[in-house]
Amino acid sequence: MAANNHEILRIENISKSFPGVQALQNVNFCLKKGEIHALVGENGAGKSTLIKVMTGVEKPDQGRMLYDGVEMKIKSPQHANNIGISTVYQEVNLCTNLSVAENILLGREPRQFGGKINWKAMNTRAKEIMLGLDVDIDVKAPLATFSTAIQQITAIARALEISSTKVLILDEPTSSLDVRESDLIFQCMRKLRETGVGIIFITHFINQIYEVSDRITVLRNGKLVGTYDTENLPTISLIQKMIGRSLAEYEDMEKAKQDPDKQQVLIETNNLGRSGTVQPTDLTLKTGEVVGMAGLLGSGRTGVAKLIFGVEEPDTGDIRVDNQPVDKHSPHESLLRGIALCPEDRKESGILGDLTIRENIILAMQARMGWFKYLNKKQQYEIAQKYIDMLNISTPSSDQLVKNLSGGNQQKVILARWLATHPKLLILDEPTRGIDVGTKAEIQKLVISLANEGMSCMFISSELEEVMRTSNRIVVMRDQEKVTELPGDTTEHNIMQAIAGAD
């Protein structure tokens, strides 16, 4: 035991299986005090499951866990919390009806005599915490009124706030944050590391792994590949270890070829805007073109997507599709016109967890065809299988309930749903959020090859690299306004400048 003094958490021989899936198999893992330990692997590799086993959400089939040198069975997330393990789970798990302050502090709120909650102190404390993360919001407002990014930061604030924390677990905390916000989270992580907290950090952003982590543990298909010191593991070998092959296709990707003769204008917006979300915007999209949308969170990218798809009604300007003016704005109408939107927040507005993968994929397609032309079961299975293979969705069968999939695989199911409608214009809002490197490249390739077949695509992403790799043209948004349009072969520097608004 003496030798393990610097270890805070040790996992030995843990296995966990779900019906049809061996999620973890004899995994060993150890976390030292005062280190940031990255846990990486493809979608469905078992990262979140490992976390859930450590925090008592799932019971392991076998194996044992040592906490601070003592063997320990964690009974529940509450128990984990009490002994000093605080966790931000992959999907934001907070209560949207409660205020931001309550979400951060509920369970250890400041109280007066007799157990009465001191609301004033609680709100002040929450405000301080959020300001510390550079977020200035009304902490008394219900969480539901804020964006995914704020909700994510709230969840992180909750975990950071526990002062007796010895282990902090962050499962893809930065997936819906932009660079600036991620940096703030990293600062906090480094500060905690100084005080001796052990941090487990899960992410699919390779650069972030190198930015903050001290050691890396790689999982593949539920098995441990190994634990490495970050400085001794070059990116290439890291990716190789994650996906089990080298990522050659990552390099030789070409953009969609554009044939100027064949190109027609597919969509044209004129002064399209909605007060509060998007300033009047002009935009054209041609057939077979991939247009990237860059900008910070809240810069109005999603707003434009929602207006074009008809989720929200514009209050100025108009849209023309195929030269026909659009007068009815609704997602259903758009679908019939051949426009599809793959939304950014899969939990709120997309995935139906209690349906199977097949049902989720067929849904939009069936809506487009009309509910009377019913696809028979055999066709449905064929289509579902096609996309499962195409997007590498890791699942025992297409009859698996979507809620049982890993986070990244759920994202792929949504993508499949909209691809299956064979749209003329596919709007992708952060399509690769939470998706592993290998599949990310696959999806980018897929978009380009579909564009070569004549589909247009609007590609919204916070990862500039990805926007640059896929787009023929890049629209930059800032403060709910389109600021400029850049050619697809522009440099990252130019885009950054446009985003930041530096002249």
Binding site: P77, Q78, L94, C95, N97, L98, E109, A144, R158
Partner: protein, 325 residues
């Protein structure tokens, strides 16, 4: 100005409920001048004490996205059981104590079954209803009169309302009001209360936030059981008898009051103050029908039914609007 707007927006359903109550009251006062006497208002608290008590318990259950269909039957069981015990000359305070303990245990059991065995609350509490109603008739098929002096004292002691001449309520009404205030404080100012809201919004999240989900759920059902037993005691005091057929489908009146009071059946929102007005609206319709004297009492049901539908409409309008802002 902005703050007023925000306040109105936040409390829209509750304010609508209060407004409707006063409108209905004013209409009644126009039609029947006798209704303008203050005592008519205070009678609402006398006649609806037990409904108010079970509705308070129900509010907590519904905020937590549960339901408790057993409360009406529990009133009947409590009334019969206490009448039977008093007949055997048990001391009245002991009877009251035993009854509340029975209510708590009963609720606790139902809560444990829903939580640990993952059975729908609807099913469990419906079975609870059958059980309680059945037990009531097993104890005695017919009505038992209560002759105990202490019960009579509780039933007849008038408490004068300050500032109103000749206006009074009974001890039982006071019990209901005290319960209301205490519950209000619990919901707004304690960790337990906030956890109830958290569970109603998303039980899984509450669990992952490390909140004591199991304990809170059990306590809430136990509390509802406690309220139903208390309501049963109040019921038997005001009728000085116990009978297995009392309070038929009163749980539905309670649910309607809770919904009219702005608590959403989808969980996570609501408060007991609204429930009070839900109960009062129910009561004022009954009062108007009594003053009228020719309409059948079934009009109450029709009125409450329509109002409940309107309120569910108002609520969903508010929540749709809220989502979009």
């Amino acid at each position: 100005m902005h703050r007023i707007k925000k306040f109105l927006f936040k409390n829209g359903p509750l304010l609508a409920t209060i407004l409707i109550f006063f409108i209905v009251y004013a209409i009644g006062g126009q039609l029947y001048p006798a209704m303008r006497k203050p005592q008519v208002f205070f009678n609402l608290f006398i006649n609806n004490a037990s409904l108010l008590i079970i509705s308070i318990g129900m509010t907590l259950v519904v905020i937590m996205k549960g339901i408790d269909l057993s409360v009406g039957a529990m009133i009947a069981l409590t009334s019969v059981a206490s009448a039977a015990l008093l007949q055997q000359n048990f001391p009245p305070l002991l009877v009251i104590l035993m009854m509340t303990l029975m209510g708590i245990l009963f609720g606790l059991t139902m809560g444990a079954i829903t939580h640990y065995l993952k059975v729908e609350a609807f099913v469990v509490t419906l079975m609870g209803q059958f059980f309680a109603r059945g037990m009531a008739y097993v104890i005695n098929r017919s009505s038992i009169t209560i002759t105990d002096d202490f019960y009579k004292f509780l039933a007849l002691t008038k408490i004068h309302v300050p500032f109103f001449e000749n206006a009074y309520v009974y001890i039982t009404s006071l019990v209901a009001i005290v319960l209301l205030v205490v519950t209000f404080i619990i919901l707004v100012f304690t960790r337990f209360g906030r956890t109830v809201y958290a569970i109603g919004n998303n039980e899984q999240s509450a669990l992952l936030m490390g909140l004591p989900v199991a304990r809170t759920k059990l306590i809430v059902y136990a509390f509802s059981g406690f309220c139903s037993a208390l309501a049963g005691i109040v019921f038997s005091i005001s009728l000085t008898s116990g009978f297995g057929g009392y309070a038929l489908s009163m749980e539905m009146d309670a649910i309607a009051s809770v919904v009219i009071g702005g608590t959403a059946l989808t969980g996570g929102v609501g408060n007991v103050f609204g429930t009070l007005f839900g109960v009062l609206i129910n009561g004022i319709i009954v009062t108007i029908l009594q003053f009228n004297g020719t309409l059948t009492s079934w009009w109450t049901r029709i009125g409450v039914g329509i109002l409940t539908l309107i309120f569910i409409g108002i609520q969903s309008l508010f929540y749709v609007r809220k989502k979009h802002t």
